[in-house]
Amino acid sequence: MIKAILVFNNHGKPRLSRFYQYYPEDMQQQIVRETFHLVSKRDDNVCNFLEGGTLIGGSDFKIIYRHYATLYFVFCVDSSESELGILDLIQVFVETLDKCFENVCELDLIFHVDKVHYILAELVMGGMVLETNMTEIITRIEEQNKLEKSEAGIAAAPARAVSALKEMNIPQKVKDMKLPDLPSIGNLKF
C-alpha cells in the first residue's frame, strides 16, 4: 500500500499532497515539512530510500523518492510494495506529466494541481497501484479531457478567451523547470 504521495520543491513548498490515510490538515503539513527535512539534506548520489520518519508509518514504512530538477516526488509505502517498482512508478508518473503538459515544469504543477491529481488518479487509486502502462494512462486522461471539453461547449469559449487574456498578464510564461533528460534507469525498466 502507498500511504502518501507528496510533491514539493527544493524549498519544501508543497506542490501536491495526496494522503491515502486520513491525517488532519496540520498533521499533513507537519509530515510534508518533516519529509522535506529528511529528503532535502540528502545528496543526489545517495540511495533513494529512507526508513520511515516518525510521523508517517513506522518501521514497516519506507520513503521512496526521486529528485527532478526543482521538485521532489516522494512516495511513502509499506513493505508490500517493491522498492524498485515504486521508483519506476515515480518515473512513469513524471513521464506521464511530461506528456500531458508538454515539457512539464514546476509552474505547470503550481497552476494545475487539479490536473496533476487527475493524472495521479489514473496511476494510483486508494493507495494501490492501478495502472503502470503509460499509453493506457494517457489514453484515459485524454478521453476525460475530451469529455470535459465537450461539456464546456460553447459556454466555455468566453471563459477560455478570458483566461487567455489573463495569461497575457504574465509577461512570459517562464518555464523555469525544464525537465532534463530523465535519468535512464535502463536496467530497472519494465
Binding site: 545517495v46 533513494n48 526508513e51 503550481i110 487539479d114 491529481h117 488518479a121 494501490m128 492501478l130 469529455l147
Partner: protein, 1266 residues
C-alpha cells in the same frame, strides 16, 4: 475594450479561478495569511450562489487551499453539492475535493450513499471511474456495506477500466466491511484470470494485500498463483505474486520446494532488477522456512548471496541498499554465508550514504564472532569518533552494545575489555543512550561475578570524574551512568580500594545538579559505603578514622535534605538521622560501638539478583483476586494531578521499592536526637574537623592525593594496594585488551596452523570455540513462583482491522452470506430523528423515494441484523443451497404500518451450491498440487478427498415443504445432482444474469412463502395420525413473553445445532431490543456475530408488536454430542409502554438431549442388515417401559418424530429403526411391543450416546408433556 464587454455579459468568468488564486498567493508572499483569508471570504460567497459552475470553481480553490494546510471541512456539504452535479467536469472537481478532505468522521458522508450509487451505475464510463476513485479514499463502514453489491456488479462490467477499479476498491470495502469478503471472494478469484492485464494486476494486488495480513487463508490459491507466475510476463504482477509467495512459504514448506526451481530460473533469466530482487527475497523466505528440507539449498543460498554481492557492489546506491537489506534476511538463518562477505559490509560502513551505513550496521550484528568482536567494536568506535550528527553516533553506540550483549554476551570473551568499552562510551558527547550504558554496566557487574572487582574500580573512577559526566544533565543523558556507578560502588564496596575516597567523591556539592533519581541512589549508597567503612575499621579496631567519616557525612548530607526532589529529601533525612545515631553510639565505648557496625551492615545484607524482564507479568494472580475491582471508592479526578511525571520511569520506581524498605528499617532504629545532643554533636564535629587534614582540602582533592592522604590516617586502609594503578578512563584501556587478545591469538593460531596443516581442515568455527570466555556469565534470573505454568505469549498489537479480515475462504459459501443490497432505509418510529438532522434526513428521503420507484423490484431489506441472523440461521447445507427459495425465513409478516420489517428476501449468490463443491474441489486440487512433489503426500490428500465424495454419494434428504414431501427422494436427489452439474457449467452465465433472476425470486418468495421454515426431515414422511405432534417445547414464559423452542440439525454439519425459538409477545405493548444470551459451555457454544466476545448477547433481529410472535434462530457449535447438554441463558428485552419503557429479563434453561443430534436418514433393510453384521456396532443397550399410548404404531411414531429415527422394517409387533447422529454415529434399534410394554434393544458404536438416546426414548414414550 473587449475585456470590459466580456466582463459585462459573463460576470462569472471573471471570478477568480484556481489559477488566479495561485497567482494571487504568489503575489502576496509577505501577507499570505491575510490574502487567503480574503479569498476564503470570496469562496464562501461563491458557495452561496446557485450556479454549480461557480460552486465548482470555489471548491476547486478550496482543494488547493487544503493542500496548503487550511481546514476546509466546513465546506463538506458544498463539496457534495458539486459532486452531485450531472456534469463530469464538476463531478470530478467535487470528488477530488472529497477525496482530499473527507474522512471517516465526516458526517455528511452518509448523504452520499445514493449519489455514489447513481454514479457507479452511470452510463458514462468516467462518471463511474471518478466515483470509484473518490470512494477509495473516503469509504466508511456504512458506505462499504451499502455499496458493496454495486461494486460487485461493476466487477463484471464489460469495460476493463471499470473492472480494474472495482476490483481494486474491493480491498477497501473488505477493510471496512469484512463480511463482504466471503461472498465477494469467488468473483475476485475469477478476476485473477481476467483477459485484461490491468484487471488481472488489480486482482493480484488486492489478494496480495489481503494475504499479507492473513496468509493462511490464501494458501489454497497457491496453484493458481503458481500458474500465473510461470505464465505472466507483466513484471508488476510477477513482483506482487512473488512477494505473496514469500508470505505464504512459512506456512507451507511444500510450497517452498516447488518454488525454488522457477524462482532460480527467474533469477538467472530476468533483466529487471526489481524482479530479480524480489525473487531473491522470496528464495530467502523459502530457505528460511525449509532450512533443511532441500538437498541443494546451499546452492540456492550461494546463488542468492552471489547475486546480492553483485547488487551491493553496484554503483547504484539503491541496489546497494537493497542488497544489504536482503543480506540481513539471509543472516538470520545462514550467518556463515554472509560472514564470508564481511569485507564488503565493513566497507559499506564507510559509505557516505546514511541509509546504507545503517543497513550495514544491521548486518554487523550477525557478523560478529568471538574472534572478531573486539576488532569490529574497535572499528565502530573509530567511526563514532568521526561521525557527525548525534543521530548516527547514537545509533552506533546502541549497535555496539547490542552486538556485545547479544545472547547473554555470547561473544564477549574478556569482560574487562567490555567494561572498559562501556566506560569509554561514556565519553561520547550528547548521547541519548546514557541509560542504556548504565543498564549494561549494572547487568555485567551483577551477572559476571568475576568482573566485579574490576568493574567497581572503574566505577569508582567514574564517580571521581563525575564532573565530566554531569555536565550533561538532560534526561537519559550520559549522567545516567553515574546512577550505575554509584549503585555498584555501594553494593560491592568490598572491592573498593579506597571507599573513603569514593565517599568523598560522592559528596561533592555538584552532585545536587544531577537528576533526582540519581541523587537518591547516591544518598542510599553513601550510607552503604559508610557501613562498609565502619565494618572495615572494626576489623582493624581503628575507630578514629571512622569517626571522621561519620562527621563528614553529618556535615555534607544536609545538602541533600534541601533537595527539591522528595525522594532525595526523604532518604537524606533518614540517612542523616542514621549517621547521628551511629556517631552517638560510637561515643559510648565498648560493646555498643562494636555492635553498631554489624547492625549497620545488616541493613544492607543479602545479594540482589537480576530479575527476569517479564517476571512481574508472570506473577500469577491469586485466586479470588480481582485486579480491576476498586479497593476503595474511585478517587476524585483532582488527585490524579499529583501523579509523578512519567519521565522518571523505571529507575525511579525501582528505587522507590528499595528505598521504602530501607527507610522502614532505618527509622525503626534511629531514635530522635534532642536539641542538646545535636549541638553537642555539632561541636564535636567541629573539633574533629579541626584535626582532620581531609577537611581542609575538601572536595577539590583528586584521587591521587586522596590515596596518600588516606595513608596518613593509618590502619583503616592498610590493605590498599598501591601497585594497582588507578585506571583513568581512556581509549588506551580497551585497546590494551585487544592487543593482549590478539597477541594471545597469534600465538595460538601459530600452533594451530601447524596442527591444521597436518589435518588439512580449515574449520573456522573450530578455532572460535577454542577462545575461552574468561568470565562466567550468570544467567540466573529471578522469576516468581508459579510462573512456569503460564505461557510466554507475546502480546500481539496487530491492527484490529486486519484481524477482522481473517476469514476462512475455503469453507463453502453459506446461502445466507450475501452482500447487502440496496434498500429503502426505514427509520423505526420509536427512534425519533434528532432535530438538527431533520433537514438532511428529509432531503435524503426525497432522493430515496425517487429512486425507490425505479428500483422497486430490487428494494430489499438489508438491515444488518437481518442479514446476520440469516447467516446464522442457514448454515450451509449443499443440498439446501440449491434451493434458496425454500430456505426462506419464517418471518410472520407483521401487519402494522410502522414496523420496520419488510418481507425478507433472498438474493442468493447464484453460485451458492456450486461454489460449495467448487471450493472443496479446489482444496483438493491444492492438496494434490502440493503433494505432486511429495512422495508421502497421498496419505495427506486422501482424508481431504473423502468429504467431497461423501457429499455426493449420500442421498440428500429433501428439505421441502407440504405437497412436495412425497416426492421420491432418490429420484429427486439425482435430479438435483444433475442440476448442480448444470449449474456449475452455467455459473459464468448465471453470474451475469444474477441480478435479474434474483429479482424474480424475490417477488415470488415474498408472496407465496412468507412463513416457510426448514422442516425437520423426520416430520416429512410421518403421516399425522394420532394427536398432532409438535416438537416445540416451552423454553420460558413470564407475564410478558413466552418462548417455545425446537432444535434442528443438518446431517452435513456435524458440529452445529440450530435452535429455533418462537418468541410470543403476551403484552399489549411493543417489545423490542430482544437480546438472547446463553452461557457457553466447553462443549456447546452459541455462534455469535463476527468480532463478538463469548459473553455478548445476540441481538434478536426483530421487534414484537403486541400479541404477535416471531421466530428467531440461533446456531450453536457443538463438539461432542454423546452426552446431553444443559445450558442456562437469559433473554432481555424492553417493553415499550405509553408511559415509558421497562427493561425486563427472563432466565431459561435449555436442554439439548442426545436425540436432538440425531437425524432420520432412510436406510434400506439390506444396508441395515449389513451394518448390523459388520461388527462395528459393538455397544448394546436395552430399555423397557410402558408407554402412555396403548398403540404400537403411535409409540413408533413418537419415537420417529421426537427422537429422529426412521423405520427400516416393520412386522407385527416389532420394528427396526435406524438413525444417525450428525457426527456419523449409527444407531440401530429393535422395538418390540408386547402386552402394552415396549422393549427397545439398541446397537451402536458409541455406548454413551446409545444409552442416552434410549433414555430419551423412554421419556418420549412415558411422559405426556415434553
Amino acid at each position: 475594450m473587449a475585456l470590459s464587454k466580456v466582463k459585462g455579459t459573463l460576470e462569472r468568468v471573471l471570478d477568480k479561478n484556481l489559477q488566479d488564486l495561485v497567482r494571487g498567493i504568489r503575489n502576496h508572499k509577505e501577507n499570505e495569511t491575510k490574502y487567503v483569508a480574503e479569498c476564503l471570504d470570496e469562496i464562501k460567497n461563491e458557495l452561496r450562489q446557485e450556479n454549480v459552475a461557480v460552486k465548482a470553481i470555489a471548491v476547486n480553490k478550496l482543494t488547493y487551499l487544503q493542500m496548503l494546510g487550511y481546514d476546509i471541512s466546513w465546506a463538506a456539504f458544498n463539496v457534495i453539492e458539486v459532486m452531485s452535479s450531472p456534469k463530469f467536469t464538476f463531478k470530478r472537481i467535487g470528488y477530488l475535493s472529497a477525496s482530499q478532505s473527507f474522512h471517516e468522521g465526516t458526517d455528511v458522508l452518509m448523504l452520499t450513499t445514493n449519489m455514489i450509487r447513481k454514479d457507479l451505475g452511470s452510463q458514462n464510463l468516467y462518471d463511474a471511474g471518478v466515483a470509484l476513485n473518490g470512494l477509495s479514499c473516503f469509504i466508511t463502514a456504512d458506505l462499504a456495506r451499502d455499496l458493496a453489491n454495486d461494486i460487485m456488479t461493476l466487477m463484471t462490467s464489460t469495460k476493463p477500466y471499470l473492472r480494474k477499479k472495482a476490483v481494486l476498491i474491493m480491498y477497501k470495502v473488505f477493510l471496512q466491511f469484512p463480511e463482504a469478503l466471503r461472498p465477494a471472494f469467488p468473483r475476485l478469484k475469477e478476476k485473477l484470470e481476467d483477459p485484461d492485464p490491468g484487471v488481472q494486476s488489480a486482482a493480484v494486488n488486492v489478494i496480495c494485500e489481503l494475504a499479507r495480513k492473513n496468509p493462511r487463508n490464501y494458501l489454497a490459491l497457491a496453484p493458481l498463483f503458481f500458474k500465473l507466475m510461470t505464465s505472466s510476463t507483466n513484471n508488476w504482477v510477477l513482483i506482487k505474486i512473488i512477494k505473496l509467495f514469500g508470505a505464504l512459504t512459512p506456512l507451507e514448506p511444500r510450497l517452498g520446494k516447488k518454488l525454488i526451481e522457477p524462482l532460480t530460473n527467474l533469477i538467472h533469466s530476468t533483466s529487471a532488477m526489481s524482479l530479480l530482487y524480489e525473487c531473491i527475497n522470496t528464495v530467502i523466505a523459502v530457505l528460511i522456512s525449509v532450512s533443511t528440507g532441500i538437498p541443494n539449498h546451499t546452492a540456492s543460498i550461494q546463488l542468492c548471496v552471489q547475486k546480492l554481492r553483485i547488487l551491493i557492489e553496484d554503483s547504484d546506491q539503491n541496489l546497494k541498499y537493497l542488497g544489504l537489506l536482503a543480506m540481513s534476511k539471509i543472516l538470520q538463518t545462514h550467518p556463515k554465508s554472509v560472514q564470508t562477505h564481511k569485507d564488503l559490509i565493513l566497507q559499506c560502513l564507510d559509505d557516505k550514504d546514511e541509509s546504507i551505513r545503517f543497513r550495514a550496521l544491521d548486518l554487523l550484528y550477525g557478523m560478529v564472532s568471538k574472534k572478531n568482536l573486539m576488532e569490529i567494536v574497535k572499528k565502530l568506535m573509530v567511526h563514532m569518533d568521526k561521525a557527525e550528527g548525534t543521530n548516527y553516533r547514537d545509533e552506533l553506540l546502541a549497535k555496539i552494545i547490542e552486538i556485545c550483549s547479544q545472547s547473554n554476551y555470547q561473544y564477549v570473551t574478556n569482560f574487562e575489555w567490555y567494561v572498559s568499552v562501556l566506560v569509554e562510551l561514556t565519553r561520547m558527547e550528547g548521547t541519548r543512550h546514557g541509560r542504556l550504558i548504565a543498564a549494561q554496566m549494572l547487568d555485567v557487574a551483577i551477572r559476571v561475578q568475576a568482573i566485579r572487582p574490576f568493574a567497581v574500580a572503574q566505577m569508582a573512577v567514574l564517580l571521581e570524574n563525575a564532573h565530566v559526566l554531569s555536565n550533561n544533565s538532560q534526561r537519559n543523558g550520559i549522567c545516567e551512568v553515574l546512577y550505575a556507578a554509584a549503585w555498584l560502588c555501594g553494593e560491592f564496596p568490598d572491592h573498593l580500594t579506597d571507599p573513603k575516597g569514593v565517599l568523598e567523591a560522592m559528596l561533592k556539592p555538584k552532585i545536587t545538579l544531577l537528576p533526582g533519581h540519581i541523587q537518591s541512589v547516591y544518598v542510599q549508597n553513601i550510607i552503604k559505603l559508610y557501613a562498609n567503612i565502619i565494618k572495615r575499621a572494626e576489623g582493624q579496631n581503628g575507630l578514629a578514622g571512622v569517626r571522621e567519616v561519620g562527621e563528614m557525612l553529618q556535615e555534607k548530607l544536609p545538602i541533600f535534605i534541601q533537595s527539591a526532589d522528595l525522594e532525595v529529601q526523604e532518604r537524606a533525612c533518614c540517612m542523616v538521622q542514621l549517621v547521628k545515631y551511629v556517631l552517638k553510639s560510637q561515643d559510648k565505648d565498648g560493646d555498643t560501638a562494636a555492635a553498631i557496625a554489624e547492625e549497620l551492615a545488616a541493613l544492607f545484607a543479602g545479594d540482589l539478583n537480576p530479575v527476569a524482564p517479564k517476571a512481574q507479568k508472570k506473577v500469577p494472580v491469586p485466586e479470588g483476586l480481582d485486579l480491576d475491582a476498586w479497593i476503595n471508592d474511585p478517587p476524585s479526578e483532582s488527585s490524579e494531578d499529583e501523579d509523578r511525571p512519567v519521565g522518571s520511569s523505571i529507575f525511579v520506581t525501582k528505587d522507590n521499592n528499595e528505598g521504602s524498605f530501607y527507610h522502614e528499617a532505618a527509622k525503626a532504629k534511629v531514635p530522635d536526637m534532642t536539641p542538646e545532643e545535636r549541638t553537642k554533636a555539632k561541636e564535636q564535629r567541629r573539633v574533629d574537623q579541626a584535626h582532620n587534614p581531609n577537611y581542609l582540602k575538601g572536595d577539590v582533592k583528586k584521587s591521587a592525593s586522596n590515596t596518600s592522604a588516606d595513608g596518613n590516617l593509618g590502619n583503616s586502609v592498610v590493605e590498599l594496594d598501591l601497585s594497582i594503578p588507578l585506571r583513568v578512563p581512556g581509549l588506551s584501556s580497551s585497546d590494551q585488551y585487544m592487543k593482549m587478545e590478539q597477541s594471545l591469538r597469534t600465538k595460538k593460531a601459530g600452533k594451530k596452523k601447524r596442527k591444521k596443516r597436518k589435518k588439512g581442515g580449515n574449520d573456522e568455527s573450530d578455532e572460535e570455540e577454542d577462545i575461552p570466555q574468561i568470565h562466567q556469565v550468570s544467567t540466573v534470573e529471578e522469576v516468581p513462583e508459579g510462573a512456569e505454568a503460564m505461557s510466554d505469549k507475546e502480546e500481539d498489537g496487530g491492527d484490529e482491522r486486519y484481524k477482522k479480515l481473517d476469514i476462512d475462504l475455503d469453507e463453502p459459501l453459506r446461502p445466507g452470506e450475501i452482500l447487502p443490497v440496496r434498500t429503502h432505509r426505514i427509520v423505526p418510529d420509536h427512534k425519533l430523528p434528532e432535530p438538527e438532522e431533520e433537514p438532511k434526513e428529509k432531503k435524503k428521503h426525497k432522493k430515496k423515494e425517487k429512486e425507490s420507484k425505479k428500483d422497486k423490484k430490487k428494494s430489499r431489506d438489508s438491515r444488518k441484523e437481518e442479514r446476520e441472523k440469516r447467516k446464522r440461521k442457514k448454515q450451509s447445507i449443499p443440498g439446501e443451497a440449491d434451493e434458496p427459495s425454500l430456505l426462506k425465513e419464517d418471518h410472520e409478516e407483521i401487519a402494522g404500518d410502522n414496523t420496520p420489517l419488510s418481507s425478507p428476501r433472498d438474493k442468493d449468490m447464484p453460485s451458492g451450491g456450486a461454489t460449495a463443491t467448487n471450493s472443496t474441489d479446489k482444496m483438493n486440487d491444492y492438496e494434490f498440487w502440493m503433494s505432486s512433489t511429495d512422495a508421502q503426500s497421498p496419505s495427506h490428500s486422501e482424508p481431504q478427498g473423502k468429504p467431497t465424495t461423501e457429499v455426493k454419494v449420500t442421498p440428500v434428504q429433501d428439505i421441502t415443504s407440504g405437497d412436495e414431501a412425497k416426492v421420491d427422494t432418490t429420484a429427486h436427489s439425482k435430479k438435483k445432482k444433475k442440476e448442480k452439474k448444470e449449474r456449475r457449467e452455467k455459473k459464468e452465465k448465471k453470474s451475469k444474469k444474477s441480478k435479474l433472476k434474483a429479482g424474480d425470486y424475490e417477488e415470488a418468495g415474498g408472496i407465496t412463502t412468507p412463513s416457510q421454515e426448514v422442516v425437520d426431515p423426520s416430520q416429512l414422511e410421518t403421516p399425522v395420525t394420532a394427536k398432532p405432534m409438535s416438537s416445540y417445547r416451552l423454553l420460558a414464559e413470564n407475564a410478558s413473553i413466552k418462548m417455545m423452542y425446537e432444535t434442528r440439525v443438518s446431517p452435513q454439519r456435524g458440529d452445529q445445532l440450530i435452535l429455533s425459538v418462537v418468541f410470543t409477545n403476551l403484552t399489549p405493548h411493543l417489545v423490542n431490543n430482544l437480546e438472547f444470551n446463553v452461557m457457553d459451555t466447553l462443549n456447546t457454544k452459541l455462534s455469535r456475530g463476527m468480532g463478538q466476545a463469548s459473553h455478548d448477547a445476540v441481538q434478536v433481529p426483530f421487534v414484537l408488536p403486541a400479541g404477535l410472535s416471531n421466530e428467531g434462530q440461533f446456531a450453536f457449535s457443538v463438539d461432542s454430542l454423546v452426552q446431553p447438554t444443559k445450558l442456562r441463558g437469559t433473554l432481555t428485552y424492553m417493553v415499550k409502554m405509553a408511559e415509558g419503557s421497562t427493561h425486563e429479563k427472563v432466565d431459561f434453561r435449555l436442554t439439548f438431549n442426545c436425540s436432538s443430534f440425531m437425524s432420520a436418514l432412510p436406510c434400506k433393510s439390506s444396508e441395515f442388515a449389513s451394518l448390523l453384521s459388520s461388527g462395528d456396532l459393538t455397544e448394546k443397550s436395552t430399555m423397557k417401559c410402558t408407554p402412555l399410548e396403548n398403540s404400537f404404531d403411535v409409540s413408533l411414531l413418537r419415537i420417529c418424530f421426537y427422537n429422529h429415527f426412521k423405520v427400516v422394517e416393520k412386522v407385527e409387533g416389532s420394528a427396526s429403526l435406524y438413525g444417525r447422529s450428525i457426527q456419523g454415529h449409527h444407531l440401530c434399534l429393535l422395538v418390540k411391543y408386547n402386552n402394552g410394554e415396549i422393549t427397545v434393544d439398541g446397537k451402536s458404536a458409541e455406548g454413551a450416546l446409545l444409552s442416552n438416546v434410549l433414555a430419551d426414548i423412554k421419556t418420549v414414550l412415558t411422559s405426556d408433556v415434553l
